[in-house]
């Protein structure tokens, strides 16, 4: 089983590495976008999936990353892409940490509303701070002829994200986050510095969002407030996580891919009803598979490993996932 899985993963990675040879460079832009959605989802997974805090404003860091990367590249220092990206990520992490101390004291929907407000505030700042951001017009980044670059950069971060998540899930930090998600008072009494752990999760999720923002900015060569501080991005991120499975290693990546597939399929078949049909599919996932595809795969895996094969695996999953 283990060998089979490792083989499958290597094959998948090889396919992803070879992908640019087989698709047009226009098509590749879409794939890069999917990978960036996966990066955002991996980041959201730390705060939303592991620590259980429904952050609804991660697009704020996506935007900060995009602007910081872009502004540093066109500044008088002419930073190259990676240092600029790193600076953006660092700034996002710091902003998240500073915001985190007050707003991570809130719970449930209050926290969600606060993060939503933060994202809107940043959009307003980006639109109004003409001197630096050139307001609603936005900024232009240097053009790069090699379109494979964005794809491979995003792929690299996705692989890093999977590895980091896998490592953290088995680490003390990961255990601490899950304890906080399950019961904060119990976590505190078990010796977990809940404030610090939550801030760490939020800062890490901001870092990932910021990196995705930077890559997309460089690919689009233009950054404007309304394109980059879009609430839709946060929603897509969360939907990707939910579809794939929150609090799992592979869930965000799987969810981002499935979301994109669904979205593309629905676009081409139900052009007028696109949002409606997509919405219905999302509702289906939330109701019947609230723990996502990874949980379903886990159950099928258990069956494959010699468990009883029941036609009711799916139903068992639905029943076990009932949220109360």
């Amino acid at each position: 089983m283990r060998v089979f899985r490792a083989g499958f993963l290597l094959a998948a990675l090889a396919a992803l590495l070879l992908l640019p040879r087989f698709v047009t460079s226009y098509k590749l832009l879409t794939y890069t976008t999917v990978l960036c959605l996966a990066i955002m989802a991996q980041g959201w997974n730390f705060i939303g999936g592991f620590a259980g805090y429904a952050a609804f404003g991660n697009v704020a860091f996506f935007g900060i990353g995009a602007y910081t990367t872009g502004l540093l590249m066109i500044s008088k220092w002419h930073l190259s892409f990676f240092p600029a990206l790193a600076a953006g990520a660092l700034l996002s992490a710091c902003v998240a940490a500073l915001l985190g101390f007050p707003i991570l004291r809130l719970k449930g929907h209050y926290f969600a509303i606060a993060t939503l407000g933060v994202a809107e505030a940043f959009r307003e700042v980006a639109g109004a701070w003409d001197k630096v951001t050139e307001g609603a017009t936005g900024i232009d980044l240097p053009l790069r002829s090699d379109s494979n670059f964005y794809y491979y950069t995003a792929l690299g971060f996705v692989v890093f994200g999977v590895a980091l998540t896998a490592y953290l899930a088995r680490s003390k930090l990961g255990y601490g986050w899950v304890a906080i998600r399950e019961d904060q008072d119990a976590a505190r009494m078990l010796g977990i510095n809940t404030t610090l752990f939550k801030v760490a999760a939020y800062a890490l999720s901001a870092t990932f969002s910021s990196i995705a923002g930077g890559i997309i900015a460089y690919q689009n060569i233009h950054v404007a407030p309304n394109d980059f501080f879009k609430i839709e991005y946060t929603l897509q991120t969360i939907i990707a996580c939910v579809i794939g499975g929150t609090g799992t290693v592979w869930g965000p990546l799987l969810g981002a891919a499935v979301y994109q597939l669904l979205s593309t399929y629905v676009w081409s078949h139900f052009i007028e009803l696109h949002p409606t049909v997509l919405g219905a599919i999302i509702v289906f996932f939330v109701v019947f598979l609230p723990r996502g595809l990874m949980e379903l795969l886990r159950r099928f895996g258990a069956v494959a490993r010699g468990g009883r094969f029941g036609s009711d695996v799916f139903l068992a999953n639905v029943r076990a996932s009932r949220l109360d």
Binding site: K172, Y175, A179, R188, M189, L190, G191, R308
Partner: protein, 525 residues
């Protein structure tokens, strides 16, 4: 017990004049207390006396209004909870707080990771340590299970395991034995003594008097947030103040009439004092009438696990019937199946001539069956009064609801005092009263009560049992699940014994009480 305790006097924890107010109410009011290194200190007191708040204050979960907490000579009053935990103070929660989606092993591993020796352990070492601790508390066979699958007594064990995995120097146990039957209480006492013998100082809050008398070196009594007595257990149970506030006359009389009060610290002797050998059966309850509930060959379970196997039983109009069995025998599942929260797989349920086998839970309530569930299931964000009024949801006779509310308030005066408070803020025992009160509000023909005495002071248990006899005389039929088998059978007409999901015995209550097998299995005699 005291044989293993070192020469007393070195204080490990000193609590000086601590007060905690919620609004105008002082939950803990100027309490001074010392816990000496190596001892087991019992804390008792009526429900709502402030025992849990006291523990919350010591562990930093509640901020003190005033006062000081000193551990090992260091002031920890303003320290955050996690730091206090790492210094070597671990606790359990009365209202259990499992990390539900995690396995039992991971729940405990987290304690081992972040506790006093957490820094020295890697995550995988912590998981190994968790397995040792789980074996010790008797959960060794459930390591891989998800915490949400455990029954309440196992969740209590899990609480203890989580705390133990932190390698504490001081362990604060908040009602870890509630819900255990006599035999299980014995083994829990044994375990606590062993933990103590390993050098852990223990503060234990418990209403199971047999346990607290048996293991405590000293007792402290809280009442309305104040400490009203402190001393040797034998002295405490004779204090008139304590009898009046907490134990109740009946309990004191029982112990006294057995003539054992002078030797109460001898655990075995005390136990016998509490369980009089051949008390003559007094049929004070009315004679039962027609068949009210008929259950035939009932099977049910969860997912792939079958719990109930061909259970058949009858409850007659006007009866009090006790369901007896070890933890995991299926008592709670039976009640859940009767109220249709768990669906029957086969068999039939008839109630007052109606077939309820395929009814919905609300139809069951409509038919006159009300379920007072284990673990209370109150609405924490509603006030006590609002919770009580939830009980009349299906009733149409608005005019008399006010009278009924008054009636419940009269039966349970504590609820009246607390009627405007949020149910989530009530003490554990008060929540239990509120759950019973909510059940009464729907004027049920049949009441299913799961673990009546769980977490209640002896005095309150007596009051509630009186209350049940009282409503029973007025015509309410009762099906009672109760870990205190003695108490249950003393108040019931008949009893059914469940073992691994089957009915293995059904007799009149006094017969069961005399049956040597029952006495051995469930009374620990």
């Amino acid at each position: 017990m005291s044989a293993t305790a070192p020469p007393l006097s070195v204080p490990l924890l000193q609590v000086r004049g601590i007060t905690r107010r919620f609004g105008g109410l002082a939950a803990v009011d100027g309490v001074d207390l010392e816990i000496r290194k190596g001892e087991i200190l019992g804390v008792i007191g009526p429900n709502g006396a402030g025992k849990t708040t006291f523990v919350n204050c010591v562990t930093g979960l509640d901020r003190l209004t005033s006062g000081q907490v000193i551990f090992h000579g260091e002031d920890i009053t303003r320290k955050p909870s996690y730091a206090i935990g790492r210094m070597g103070i671990a606790r359990t929660f009365q209202v259990v707080k499992p990390l539900k989606q995690l396995t039992v092993r991971d729940n405990v591993a987290i304690g081992a990771m972040f506790g006093a020796h957490g820094r020295e352990r890697s995550a995988s070492e912590a998981r190994q340590r968790a397995e040792q601790v789980l074996t010790r508390v008797g959960l060794g066979n459930r390591i891989e299970d998800t915490a949400s699958e455990l029954t309440i007594p196992d969740l209590k064990r899990l609480e203890l395991a989580k705390a133990l995995a932190m390698d504490p120097e001081l362990l604060l146990l908040d009602e870890v034995m509630a819900g255990l039957n006599s035999t299980e209480v014995e083994s829990a006492m044994e375990l606590i003594r062993k933990i103590n013998a390993d050098g852990v100082t223990i503060l234990v809050i418990e209403h199971v008097m047999k346990a607290i008398m048996g293991i405590s070196d000293r007792l402290a009594v809280l009442h309305f947030g104040r400490k009203i007595a402190e001393g040797k257990p034998a002295e405490i149970v004779e204090s008139p103040q304590v009898i009046e506030a907490y134990l109740g006359e009946r309990f004191a009389k029982r112990a006294r009439s057995a003539g054992q009060l002078g030797r109460v610290t001898q655990d075995g002797v005390f136990r016998q004092a509490l369980i009089p050998d051949e008390e003559p059966w007094k049929p004070t309850l009315p004679l039962p009438g027609d068949r009210l509930l008929e259950v035939k060959d009932l099977c049910s379970g969860y997912g792939e696990v079958q719990i109930l196997r061909d259970v058949s039983l009858e409850v007659l109009q006007g009866e009090i019937v006790a369901l007896i069995g070890a933890n995991g025998a299926g008592k709670t599942t039976l009640l859940y199946t009767l109220s249709q929260l768990v669906k029957p797989r086969s068999g039939s349920i008839r109630f007052a001539g109606k077939d309820l086998t395929r009814a919905s839970p609300e139809e069951v309530v409509g038919a006159g069956i009300v379920h007072v569930p284990q673990g209370r299931r109150l609405f924490p964000g509603l006030t006590v009064k609002e919770n009580l009024l939830q009980g009349v949801y299906l009733r149409r006779d608005r005019a008399v609801i006010e009278d009924d509310l008054e009636w419940v308030f009269n039966l349970l005066p504590r609820l009246k005092e607390r009627s405007g408070q949020l149910a989530g803020r009530l003490s554990g025992g008060e929540q239990q009263m509120c759950a019973v009160g909510r059940g009464l509000m729907s004027r049920p023909a049949l009441m299913l009560i799961d673990e009546l005495s769980l977490g209640l002071a002896p005095l309150v248990v007596d009051q509630l049992l009186d209350l049940i006899s009282q409503i029973n005389r007025k015509g309410t039929t009762v099906l009672l699940v109760e870990q205190d088998v003695q108490v249950a059978l003393e108040h019931a007409h008949r009893g059914y014994v469940l073992e691994t999901g089957r009915v293995v015995q059904a007799s009149a209550a006094p017969e069961l009480l005399r049956d040597p097998r029952i006495r051995q299995a469930y009374l620990g005699l």
